[in-house]
């Protein structure tokens, strides 16, 4: 159609969105990189050029390695539970014998992911409370009193307690992604396999997994990127403590900027987050190209 050839008209439609995205998403990334080479604080106007000083300091900062380790832990545990367990749950929900119960379980499993992370974090802080919390209460009720613990108060367990909340919240979400991918697999595949005498487990490995390969890869990358973007739940439940044991890159950035007022150092952490998430995103884009429909 002739009308659709005018690039000027097309730009009129695209420009408002493009401008906002460029000014509020891309420009800040460039500014962030620039800011990481200066010493500055939120109220002073003066910026002092320090070059790579903050980068050198960051790579010598033990808290940085705690944060990286915690983000990594987040990624690994989330892969096991959200992706690994998510696939198994989705496959079972799609099984003929369970399918009639699927709507109920699907709905329930997804519920936590619609609630604000802040609300979930505050709720779990109470559930973990050593005196009145349900977690210890449940352990006592089923006769495991010796396991009771100050979950968020102990620097050994705090990070696991925080990571667990994310699994509680998002396993249902990733499960839903896998369910949607599995629903695209034609039933005949399973019927044919059944006639050939394949068991459930065999069909799972030989039909389900290969058919949702793309979604597994995309789901994994989404999960890992998510693990490096973590901020809300850690900030709400522990603010990085006790000590600095639950610090992640996001809370470290926040603390440097708004507690210690070292904006340059915070910007440096921002750049590291950018490099990590960009690398992961590029991997995702590369994977996405091979699977057009996801």
């Amino acid at each position: 159609m002739k009308n659709y050839r005018s690039s000027r008209t097309a730009l009129l439609y695209i420009l408002p969105a493009l401008l906002i995205v460029v000014c509020m998403v891309f420009l800040p990334i460039v500014l962030n990189l620039y800011n990481s080479f200066f010493r500055w604080n939120s109220f002073g106007t003066e910026k002092v050029f320090v070059g790579f000083e903050y980068y050198i300091r960051l790579f010598k900062d033990p808290v940085f390695y705690t944060a990286l380790k915690n983000n990594g832990l987040y990624a690994i545990i989330s892969l096991i539970f959200q992706v690994g367990l998510g696939i198994i749950i989705a496959a079972i929900l799609e099984d003929k014998l369970i399918r009639k119960f699927q709507p109920f379980f699907r709905t329930v499993f997804f519920i936590p992911s619609v609630i604000s992370i802040a609300v979930v974090g505050l709720l779990w802080q109470l559930l973990y409370n050593p005196e009145v919390g349900l977690v210890n209460g449940t352990l006592e009720a089923i006769g495991l009193s010796e396991w009771t613990h100050s979950w968020l108060g102990d620097s050994k367990t705090a990070i696991y307690a925080v990571v667990a909340v994310s699994q509680w919240q998002y396993t249902g979400y990733i499960t839903m992604l896998f369910l949607i991918a599995m629903q695209k697999i034609p039933d005949e595949f399973y019927e044919a396999a059944m006639i050939d005498g394949a068991s459930r487990i065999k069909s799972f490995f030989h039909i389900t997994l290969p058919q949702i390969k793309e979604m597994i890869l995309v789901g994994s990358v989404i999960t890992v990127i998510g693990a490096f973007k973590v901020f809300d739940e850690v900030y709400v439940m522990t603010s990085g403590g006790p000590g600095r044991s639950t610090e992640v890159l996001g809370t470290m950035l926040y603390r440097s900027a708004f507690r210690n007022d070292e904006m340059g150092y915070a910007s440096t952490i921002g750049t590291v987050i950018f490099v990590i998430t960009l690398t992961l995103s590029l991997i995702q884009m590369k994977i996405g190209k091979t699977g057009k429909e996801v």
Partner: protein, 275 residues
């Protein structure tokens, strides 16, 4: 049904039943504990409230949740409206027109999907201060629009591509310009995906925490997620009211989700993107 199948079915139902309990029980506990007095909360963690103190919910509402609620509703409605309008326009521009540089524009906009908001946090903080938007509703609306537009465009563009072109062709022959085509054909035909985009971006805006924490200083402008943090320190000793506040904040999203489930699932299946 064979015995083996029956055992399989039973085992799964028990397993998933326990799972469901782990999800639902804390939420029910939250709503019920919101009705307890502090003493009742400490002494009878498990049981139903001794006296059902509905006043807790009112107290939480008056202590600030009401204001936070209004702020959240306002910011969400305005942000989502702008996202849908600008997003649909851009998706239309990118799906219907053919011009040089089209792919590049698409890549630029969609790569916004992948960037971590933390990276933009400090520069945005300074930018918003510089243009005088810091500590206003605009300080939230503008970044929310920017960070959700790529997602909305991504969803809507692929749907618009699937709308058959015949209707538009005849409209253009009848003398419609592209703006009329957009309003009278694309938007009405795109309703399902626009609804999905509204729900998913609305959910993001409603729940967003970090920007709301940093870009707003005044407690009277705070949205629910950050407002609740204030409430926690304010009401440190009254757990009943605190929990009532949390319940008020969680319930609207749960109810909305249960009502609009089909749309939610459709949106996710078109997008497959978290957060």
């Amino acid at each position: 049904m064979t015995i083996k199948n029956r055992i399989f079915q039973l085992a799964v139902i028990v397993w998933f039943g326990i799972f469901s309990l782990v999800i639902i029980f804390p939420l029910i506990w939250l709503c019920l504990s919101g009705l307890k007095s502090n003493r009742d909360f400490f002494l009878n963690t498990w049981s139903l409230p001794e006296k059902w103190l509905w006043g807790n919910y009112k107290a939480a509402w008056d202590a600030g949740v009401g204001d936070f609620f209004f702020n959240s509703v306002f910011v969400t409605i305005v942000s989502v409206s702008i996202i849908l309008l600008l997003g649909a326009m851009a998706a239309y521009g990118l799906s219907r027109f053919q011009f040089k540089g089209q792919n590049m524009l698409l890549v630029i906009i969609l790569s916004g999907l992948m960037l971590a908001p933390q990276v933009s946090l400090l520069p945005l903080y300074k930018l918003l201060q510089a243009v005088g938007l810091y500590n206003t509703y605009g300080a939230l609306i503008l970044p929310y629009v920017a960070f959700q537009l790529p997602f909305a465009i991504f969803l809507m563009r692929s749907y618009f591509l699937s709308i058959p072109k015949e209707l538009e062709e005849s409209a253009i022959i009848d003398g419609c310009n592209s703006w009329k085509v957009f309003w009278h054909i694309i938007l009405p035909m795109g309703k399902p995906i626009i609804a999905s985009a509204a729900l998913l971006t609305g959910m993001f805006v409603w729940n967003e925490f970090m920007f709301a924490l940093v870009f707003i200083e005044d407690s009277s402008l705070r949205t629910i997620p950050v407002g609740l943090m204030n409430l926690r320190s304010q009401l440190n000793t009254n757990f009943g009211i605190q929990l009532a506040g949390l319940a008020i904040s969680a319930l609207p999203m749960i109810i909305a989700y249960i009502l609009f489930q089909k749309q939610f699932v459709r949106g996710i299946s078109a997008g497959g993107v978290k957060g």
